[in-house]
Each structure stands twice: as structure tokens, then as C-alpha cells.
């Protein structure tokens, strides 16, 4: 397609790219706390679609239940590392006692919509979103963005919602100085827009801001899978916050489904849930950096688990 917007890995992602064979402790997934969380929910029965630079199978990573490349001349294999890192954060399994990902029993769907060089046309991205929704994805994680709205991508996001699929996208890494810096498609009303915070619980300085921010998740100095098949690396960006959030959404969806709740019918329903269940951070109430706040996952799941339903 001519003149279609090009979406990329959000520019200026801080990528430490230090690789190591063993996983250190992960600040965003403290082992003891997450073992307890995983006793409640693991993402079982939930499918997460990662639309990114593809995926290279890691020894502690799931085998995708479906994978397809939308990049001409390039297979699904991730020669960039960005997609594999995101997949690891969303649904990497345990390394000993340390979980690498959030939804450790979720199923993985991979759509390679960004090239090994980190960019892709919006036509391929829209096709990838539709394809992941058709594969039964419950959550689609998009750690990508660009400067322009694209009607095809927006329509694909609406199509995903028609299939009951939540689309969670990275806000961007343009920082915030008072003007809206959120990229597309995260800025689209059908997307859940994810910002980034750091281990000191402050918003990451690179995290884009604006009124479309819905929530913030850990995105600074995130350890996850390297694309060498067995090692780890540290990366930073709203690209890293987004798959964490997608994993959290998978846990929430599992508990909602298991207890018998009706699924979310649109982004507004997710926002309504966030409004009452995220921990407020930054300026009181909704703000342009944290949105409705950050997910304290054990507290969010505790709200959903219906312990009072002891008989049926």
C-alpha cells in the first residue's frame, strides 16, 4: 500500500543489551510474591498474541500455538530480539523459582509484523492483528507505534474487539513535556494505552504522556529472554511495559472467565475496570503519565476471586 504509515519499535528505546546466561532476580516479578499470585492465576486457557519482530524459541519460552510472518521475505524467527524479549515478559515460564514472565501458562500466538530491522507497514500490522484475533487471541500486545493514525489498523483493532480480544499498545518513548506525545495505534480509543514506570515506582522518564494513557506497568530495566535461545538481556521502554500489562490482562481474564464473569466488550469496559482497581500513582486521580494507575496484581485478582461463592 502506498503512503501507509510505518510503525516501528518505539524510537529511543533504551536497550542495555547486556546478555547473561542466568536470570537474576527481577524487580518487576519478585519471586515469592509471584509464586503466590500464580497460585491464583497463571493465564491458563488465555491466548496472548504478540505483534512484533517475531519470536525465537527460548528454552523457557512456550512453543507458539500459531505463528505467521507478515513481513515479505522474512520468516517468523526474531533476528532483532525485541519480539522475543516482549514474549518472554508476557509469558516466559519459571527459571527455577524465578518467573520470567507474567502469565506463565498462557498460550502464545506470534505475528511478525515488524521486520528484523524493527519496522513494518501498517497494512501488515492490521493484517497481523486480524489474524491473531482469528487465531483466538484474548489479548494482543503491540509494542510498536508511529506518528500517524491509520484507518486500517484502527479497523483491525475494532475487529479484534468484535472477537472479544483486548488490544494493549505501547504509549511510546517520547517522554512528556506538556504536549501529548503518545503514538499510534496506542492513541486510538480502541487500544489500551500502556505507559512505563521504574523500580522506584516513578514514571519512566522516556514514557510518553497524554490523556489517552490508561495505565502504567514496569518498563525500565526489564530482564527477559534474549533471542539466542537460552540467555537473558535487559531492555527498557514502553515496549517492555506493554507485554507485562498484557500478561496481567491475561491473568485477569482467566479469573474473570473462571468465576463466570462476562468478558469485556470494549476498551471502555477495561477502562472502567481500571478506574476502580488500579493503584493511583502520580497526581491524584487520573493523570497523563500514569493514567488510572498501576496494577497491584495480587490485589486486583483478589477483587475478582469470589471466595464468598463457597457452595457453587
Amino acid at each position: 500500500m502506498e503512503n501507509e504509515p510505518i510503525y516501528t519499535i518505539p524510537p529511543d528505546t533504551i536497550d542495555y543489551r547486556d546478555s547473561f546466561a542466568m536470570a537474576p532476580s527481577l524487580w518487576h516479578l519478585p519471586a515469592e510474591k509471584w509464586k503466590q499470585i500464580h497460585s491464583v492465576a497463571t493465564g491458563k486457557s488465555v491466548k496472548i498474541g504478540i505483534g512484533d519482530t517475531g519470536y525465537t524459541r527460548h528454552t523457557l519460552g512456550p512453543e507458539p500455538i500459531a505463528a505467521r510472518s507478515f513481513i515479505n521475505g522474512q520468516g517468523v524467527t526474531d533476528r532483532n530480539a525485541h519480539g522475543t524479549h516482549c514474549a518472554g515478559t508476557a509469558l516466559g515460564r519459571y527459571d527455577g523459582d524465578q518467573p520470567i514472565g507474567v502469565a506463565v501458562e498462557a498460550d502464545l500466538i506470534v505475528a511478525k509484523v515488524l521486520s528484523d530491522q524493527g519496522s513494518g507497514g501498517s497494512g501488515g500490522i492490521a493484517a497481523g492483528i486480524r489474524w491473531m484475533a482469528d487465531q483466538g487471541a484474548d489479548v494482543i500486545s503491540l509494542s510498536l507505534g508511529g506518528g500517524g493514525s491509520d484507518s486500517g489498523t484502527n479497523a483491525a483493532i475494532d475487529y479484534a474487539w468484535s472477537k472479544g480480544c483486548v488490544v494493549n499498545a505501547a504509549a511510546g518513548n517520547a517522554g512528556y513535556n506538556g504536549a501529548n506525545t503518545i503514538g499510534w495505534p496506542a492513541r486510538y480509543s480502541g487500544c489500551i494505552c500502556c505507559a512505563s514506570y521504574a523500580s522506584n515506582m516513578q514514571i519512566s522518564n522516556f514514557s510518553s504522556g497524554g490523556r489517552e494513557i490508561d495505565w502504567a506497568c514496569p518498563g525500565s530495566a526489564i530482564v527477559s529472554f534474549s533471542n539466542n535461545g537460552s540467555g537473558y538481556r535487559t531492555m527498557s521502554g514502553t515496549s517492555m511495559a506493554t507485554p507485562y500489562g498484557s500478561g496481567v490482562l491475561a491473568l485477569i481474564i482467566e479469573v474473570m472467565r473462571r468465576t463466570g464473569n462476562a468478558q469485556w466488550t470494549g476498551a471502555e469496559a477495561v477502562r472502567a475496570f481500571f478506574k476502580g482497581n488500579m493503584r493511583d500513582m502520580g497526581a491524584p486521580g487520573f493523570d497523563v503519565r500514569f493514567g488510572h494507575g498501576i496494577p497491584i496484581v495480587d490485589e486486583v485478582l483478589a477483587v475478582l476471586v469470589k471466595n464468598e461463592l463457597e457452595w457453587v
Binding site: S45, R258, N261, Q263, K306, L309
Partner: protein, 253 residues
């Protein structure tokens, strides 16, 4: 002097039922008792003079289903359980009863997403009891109210696929607990409740497509839970009886 007993197999085809993937056939067979010390010579049984051979009619039910778990229960006209024995390594079950007997078949396979239930009636022997009602008698009093609440709440949720699956899951869980009790390892009430709740939630988790839009928690679980709380069953058998009523309500009966 020896009695000469020729064993005859009298086949009376009595019932054939079909419910989705559950296929069942039933016929009357006879079991021969009181022949200790017999010999088989050719096609005849030779039994000692002092023996008192007796023929007893039983039902032979054959269930064909793709499900990995098939549970067969039987009850008489008064809803009293009738003994069912599975013939080892076959799909056949011997039903030790007389007259009209109701057979409940539950087929469950989590991998293949099969949750089916079939109920049919067979007549064992030549002389069915004429005054049998057409259907098992309903549970009395409070259980009838519970059944009604479950039925009406499920109808309001309007997700028949899940309703049928929940009923099958509950019956499977109840039967499993029954079996534990029969083996003398009956769980406590809290554990029994946890098992049934787990079965319910596993089935709810498997919902697909439009079933995911149904609000089972507020539409069915909350009102039925309140009704069960009011019933305040305090023993495992009474809880299981209540859950059977809940399952029957889910089946819309």
C-alpha cells in the same frame, strides 16, 4: 443324580437412546446363581444335585462415547439407587434391578470438550411394575425450590451450552464424591464443596465464543449460592443431594 441345566440367553431389546455423541443400547440378560461346583460339558452346565440354580434378570447397558470419562448411574421409580457394575475392559454395565429403571449417563472429556448427559429408561425382565411413574419423582420440599432457582437463573443467563456443561461437571463431581464415600474415604463437607466449586469453575473457564458474554457469576452462581446457604446442608450426602437438584435445574428439568 445331577441336575442338567441348560443356560439360555434370553434377549429382550428394551431401549435404545441417542444423545449427541452418547450412544447407548440396553437389553435384558440373565445371570445364573447357585451353581457352585459346576462343570461345563460341551454346551451344558453340570451342577451338583444339592445346588439350587436361579436365574435373575439384569439389564445390560452398553455406552458408546468418545469421552474419556463415562459415568453411569441408575435409579428405580422411587429414585433409589440401583446397583451398576461395569464389565471390566468393556463399554458394558450390568444394572441389577427389576422393572423400570432410569439410566443416567454422563460423558465428560476436558480435552475434547465433551459435556453430555443422557437419561433413558429401560425395563428389566418380563414383568415391569405397572404403576411406575413416567419420570423419577422430583426431590421434595426445599430441594424443589433450589432446583427451581437454579433452573430459572440458568434460563435467564441464556447460555444453554454452558448450562449443560455445568450440569455434567456437577454430576461428575458428585458421582466422584459418591464413589469416594462408597470406598469409605468420604471427604468432609468443606472438601466436597471445594471439589464441586472447582468442577464448576473449570467448566466456566472453558467457555468459548458467545458463552463468554454470559454473566454466570451474578446471573446464576450468586442466587444459587444464596439458596444453598439458606438450605444450610450440614452433611456430605445432603450437600450432594442439593447439588443434584442444582444440576437438574441447569438441565431445565
Amino acid at each position: 443324580m445331577r441336575n442338567l441345566v441348560t443356560l439360555c440367553l434370553l434377549l429382550l431389546l428394551q431401549a435404545s437412546a441417542l444423545a449427541q455423541s452418547i450412544k447407548s443400547d440396553a437389553e435384558t440378560r440373565y445371570i445364573l446363581t447357585g451353581i457352585d461346583g459346576y462343570e461345563i460339558v460341551g454346551d451344558v452346565f453340570l451342577v451338583p444335585e444339592e445346588s439350587k440354580p436361579k436365574l435373575r434378570a439384569v439389564g445390560l447397558v452398553t455406552i458408546d462415547s468418545e469421552a474419556s470419562i463415562v459415568l453411569v448411574e441408575a435409579s428405580d421409580a422411587n429414585r433409589k439407587p440401583v446397583e451398576v457394575q461395569r464389565l471390566a475392559e468393556t463399554k458394558s454395565y450390568v444394572v441389577v434391578g427389576t422393572g423400570k429403571v432410569w439410566i443416567d449417563v454422563t460423558a465428560v472429556d476436558f480435552e475434547k470438550q465433551i459435556f453430555e448427559r443422557d437419561t433413558f429408561q429401560i425395563v428389566i425382565g418380563k414383568d415391569p411394575v405397572p404403576e411406575d411413574p413416567e419420570d423419577p419423582t422430583p426431590p421434595p420440599g426445599d430441594l424443589q425450590d433450589l432446583l427451581r432457582i437454579s433452573k430459572e437463573a440458568a434460563a435467564a443467563v441464556n447460555d444453554p451450552t454452558t448450562a449443560a456443561g455445568l450440569a455434567a461437571s456437577i454430576r461428575a463431581a458428585v458421582t466422584a464424591i459418591d464413589d469416594q464415600c462408597a470406598r469409605g474415604t468420604c471427604p468432609g463437607l468443606a472438601q466436597a464443596k471445594a471439589s464441586v466449586v472447582q468442577a464448576i469453575e473449570q467448566r466456566l473457564l472453558m467457555r468459548q465464543g458467545a458463552s463468554r458474554n454470559a454473566d454466570w457469576v451474578n446471573g446464576w452462581r450468586v442466587p444459587v449460592n444464596l439458596a444453598l446457604q439458606a438450605l444450610n446442608t450440614s452433611t456430605v450426602p445432603s450437600y450432594l443431594a442439593a447439588m443434584r437438584a442444582v444440576a437438574t435445574g441447569l438441565e431445565g428439568r
